[in-house]
């Protein structure tokens, strides 16, 4: 394939946006990770009290696994070849054939089976994305976007990781771009994707999505009773932060990534309101960090005399700040698509 560059490893903030960014770059479409994250509509907030992992509710700060790939197909008109497998051997044979032929591919894997992760991080989390770009004997060469350097993995470990069972089971999910269109009208795409994110965050019809979801979680925190079971309260608060930090990107990281997207989009579209929205979103990210810090303090405290009202209030501040961002984005019309398609840089 003439349009495929040799694989170059870069570290990214988030696994899925990182893998998609790297694969597109490899194919000749050079976008930043925040740009990919923003355009594919990666940002969200969802508090799902009825879906539990280790008996605690799911709290998502970004869209569900797989949505960035789908978003790239839909919004960037990229053709991705995607496949899931029933047969492990067939999956391995196809992967071997692809990487031996020089194609870098994205895989969905379970962190639990990846030996190069620190042991404390190896939870049953089935939606970690990585790139396999080559093979040497029984080892596959892996470019894992959240690591600084490339790593290697044995075939058996990779097979286990690709066929782990449970929630979000990867079923050997493999994906790689087969065609990219460098002449996408980025103005139109950015406008559309911001509109969609804003609409979801402000007007999602369910009370646990978007701004309403953040407030819903704040109410939940207020209803916790530290006198009854202080340990359970600590675990719940710790869990909220873990969903934000460890499975996320560090300190309200998705908010900072979206702020980076808004800044870049503002420069590209020459739109001052987007720049302003970016600054406000940065503040929202900082507020999420304060909230995380307050939760961590409770987790560390030995006594049960912490004020849950204050913590809920910090969360409501995040909600209020984010709402301002979305309202600003909603009320500042972005320039319509230009006659000449603008390049990404």
């Amino acid at each position: 394939m003439a349009d495929t560059r040799p694989m170059e490893h870069r570290q990214y903030a988030h696994c899925e946006s990182g893998v998609v960014t790297a694969l597109l770059r490899n194919k000749g479409l050079d976008l930043s990770e925040p740009m990919v994250f923003g355009i594919t509509g990666g940002l969200t907030f969802a508090y799902l009290p009825f879906i539990k992992i280790t008996n605690l509710p799911i709290i998502a700060y970004r869209m569900f696994p797989g949505s960035i790939i789908r978003g790239a197909v839909k919004n960037l008109a990229v053709d991705f070849k995607t496949k899931r497998y029933r047969d492990k051997r067939e999956a391995l044979a196809e992967l071997t054939r692809l990487v031996d032929g020089g194609t870098a591919v994205g895989l969905q894997t379970s962190v639990y089976w990846l030996p190069y992760f620190p042991p404390e991080m190896r939870f049953q989390f089935n939606a970690h994305n990585l790139i396999v770009y080559g093979r040497e004997g029984e080892e596959f060469l892996v470019s894992d976007p959240v690591f600084e350097h490339t790593v290697r993995i044995k075939t058996d470990d990779l097979q286990n990781a690709r066929f782990a069972k449970g929630t979000l089971a990867p079923k050997g999910f493999i994906y790689y771009p087969i065609r990219v269109i460098p002449s996408v009208d980025f103005r139109a795409v950015i406008r559309k994707s911001i509109k969609r994110t804003v609409h979801m965050m402000l007007y999602a019809p369910m009370p646990f999505i978007g701004i309403k979801g953040i407030r819903c979680l704040a109410r939940r925190i207020e209803r916790l009773d530290p006198r009854k079971d202080a340990k359970a309260v600590r675990l719940f608060l710790g869990h909220i932060v873990r969903m934000q930090e460890e499975i996320g990107t560090g300190g309200g990281g998705f908010r900072f990534m979206y702020a980076a997207f808004l800044q870049e989009a503002g420069q590209l579209l020459d739109s001052p309101p987007l720049g302003e929205a970016s600054r406000m979103m940065t503040e929202a990210g900082d507020m999420w960090r304060l909230f995380a810090l307050a939760c961590a303090r409770v987790c560390k405290s030995k006594t049960a005399d912490f004020n849950l009202g204050e913590i809920a209030e910090l969360l409501r501040k995040c909600a209020a700040q984010e709402k301002l961002v979305y309202l600003l984005l909603k009320n500042s019309p972005l320039p319509k698509s230009s006659s000449a398609p603008a390049g990404p840089c």
Partner: protein, 134 residues
């Protein structure tokens, strides 16, 4: 968050690795930077690990008193609860909980034992012969 404000707390759980994130440079432009971890992040991670370790210790104690099977102990050592383990095994939660009963565990078939051993990353022998001392 500015680049200068990025926490660099060198947390243990990251084992010297660094994570990428986006922050503002001195001119107010977003740039990709790295962190060696944040203390708050370590606190909440250590919290859940300690919780699992405590449960594993307590389960080991009960294994020796023949009140539960080694499966429960290994489950906590690999940061899982009954539901997660059941999903990883492709079983129902009640089946896994039933396998905690020493009498049921003793009669488990090789196929099931092998699968448990594979998921825990131990040998079937290690699963069957739980040490009397730590």
């Amino acid at each position: 968050m500015k680049v200068s404000e990025i926490p660099q707390d060198n947390i243990k759980t990251m084992q010297g690795e660094k994570k990428a994130l986006y922050a503002l440079d001195e001119r107010g432009n977003y740039t990709r930077s790295t962190t060696s971890g944040w203390e708050a992040e370590e606190v909440v991670l250590t919290q859940v690990i300690d919780d699992f370790r405590e449960k594993a210790r307590e389960a080991a104690h009960r294994v020796r008193k023949k009140e539960t099977s080694p499966i429960e102990c290994f489950m906590y050592r690999r940061w899982m609860d009954p539901l997660t383990l059941a999903q990883a095994m492709g079983l129902y939660c009640w089946q896994v909980k039933r396998h905690f009963k020493p009498r049921v565990f003793e009669r488990l078939g090789d196929k099931t034992l092998n699968e448990y051993a594979r998921i825990f990353g131990v040998t079937v022998d290690a699963l069957k012969n739980f040490p009397e001392e730590d």
